[in-house]
């Protein structure tokens, strides 16, 4: 099964719900090693995205992703705004003007998003950032690239969750948590956690459940 504009809109709306449900958890994670506003900032951003989609739905999946990007950039603030914004922006550019996305297009979008975040934040795997979730997700998506959208996203989500968990023992080398030095070890990185949550939401939204029908 492939993924059309309305599917992308549906998963973005689902993401807004997920972020709201996990707001307190993200705030708590960020309170430990950051400035405690990650959950609130992301929720503000996705709430703004939802209200934009209420008034206008763009034509293509790529245009939806770009709308998400520009909204997050101007509403989330901090480092998360430009980083999540860059991820959606690059994903939107990667899928171009396609009207339907297949597994390969979704994998390419994830790859572009990850490359954008790495370039923007100048972080690598192991720095205890969202890259620790995103980079393994891209690897997994690439390995599943012959599959359906559902299969690609499921593989990416699982890898992102493992990657997020791997940040717990790490000492942060980028972002606000790096100011804590050794004291940042022992905590889950909030950006990696929210990245994994979003990918799990995309994979599990039920929009792409029929993986037998590939297209």
């Amino acid at each position: 099964m492939s993924c059309a504009t309305e599917d992308v809109v549906a998963v973005v709306r689902a993401a807004a719900v997920t972020v709201r449900e996990h707001r307190d958890e993200l705030v708590e994670l960020d309170r430990r090693i950051g400035d405690g506003d990650h959950g609130e900032n992301l929720m503000r951003g996705f709430t703004a995205v939802t209200s934009k989609l209420d008034s206008h739905v763009p034509d293509t999946p790529g245009a939806v992703l770009k709308l998400v990007a520009t909204t997050l950039i101007s509403t989330v603030g901090g480092a998360s705004g430009p980083l999540f914004g860059t991820a959606f922006l690059r994903a939107g550019t990667a899928v171009g003007g396609l009207y339907r996305l297949d597994g390969a297009a979704v994998a390419a979008a994830l790859e572009a998003a990850s490359a954008g975040v790495i370039a923007r934040g100048r972080a690598d795997v192991g720095d205890k950032t969202m890259v620790d979730a995103l980079a393994p997700a891209v690897e997994a998506a690439r390995a599943a690239v012959g599959g359906s959208v559902a299969e690609v996203l499921a593989a990416a989500a699982e890898a992102a969750e493992r990657g997020a968990s791997s940040t717990v023992p790490l000492v942060a080398r980028k972002g606000r948590a790096s100011y804590l030095g050794e004291r940042s070890a022992g905590h889950l990185d909030p950006g990696a956690r929210s990245t994994a949550l979003l990918l799990r939401c995309f994979a599990g939204s039920g929009r792409f459940a029929d993986s037998a029908d590939r297209g």
């Binding site: 603030g77 901090g78 430009p82 914004g85």
Partner: protein, 219 residues
């Protein structure tokens, strides 16, 4: 075609203060603050940076920023800006870099020269201790000495020359291409500076600076 500056800061007041300071030294240069968020909190605001970029002039824009995410927001704003090829995002000390860039822009420097002035504002490239191949002592006889505008003229006069040039006063030496380093010498009317140059164009470099000093740093 003047170069404009955009000051990206987490704090509205910091951005405004830096702009105020830079504009005082370079009255004809557009120095636009883009600090704080729309709701008055600390943070960098993409929309504010975009707006400042659009207003900053048609001859190119040099952007300076304070901390962490300010760079990312500025990068995004530049990527989305119509004239992004005429934008330079510079990693420099915010105050010194902004002043140096403004002074260079006031002196008519091109986009890359203005960006370079900001970048080298932390004191500039290390000035070697080897004695220069050629040197000349020059008596300053202009009212403000090697202050902002004359320093910018010196730096500008050396554009395109293949020579390492220094200006010395009282045992200190400054890179003659660094506006801020020159200003830091504090050379005034009546001081004698020693200008040294090494390299293929050393003679021409000395000749140009001597002429500027002789003529009292004309516009």
């Amino acid at each position: 075609m003047t170069i404009g500056l955009v000051i990206v800061s987490h704090s509205a007041r910091l951005a405004e203060g830096v702009a105020e300071l830079a504009a005082q030294m370079a009255p004809d240069v557009s120095v636009l603050p883009a600090g704080g968020t729309a709701d008055g909190t600390l943070g960098t605001d993409y929309v504010r940076v975009r707006t400042a970029l659009a207003r900053a002039g048609d001859g190119g824009v040099v952007l300076l920023y304070d901390l962490g995410s300010a760079r990312m927001v500025a990068e995004l704003a530049v990527e989305d800006h119509e004239g992004s090829s005429d934008c330079r995002l510079v990693d420099a000390p915010l105050v010194e870099g902004s002043v140096a860039a403004a002074v260079a822009a006031q002196g008519g420097a091109g986009l890359d020269e203005v960006a370079m002035a900001a970048r080298s504002a932390s004191g500039g490239p290390a000035v070697g201790t080897d004695p220069p191949a050629e040197s000349v002592d020059l008596l300053l006889h202009n009212e403000i000495g090697l202050h902002a505008r004359p320093a910018a003229l010196v730096a500008r006069a050396l554009a395109g020359l293949d020579a390492e040039v220094t200006v010395g006063l009282g045992g200190r030496r400054a890179d003659a291409r660094s506006v801020f380093a020159l200003m830091g010498l504090g050379a005034r009317d009546g001081d004698t500076v020693r200008v040294g140059a090494t390299g293929p164009d050393a003679g021409e470099a000395l000749r140009r600076i001597a002429e500027l000093v002789e003529r009292g740093f004309p516009e």
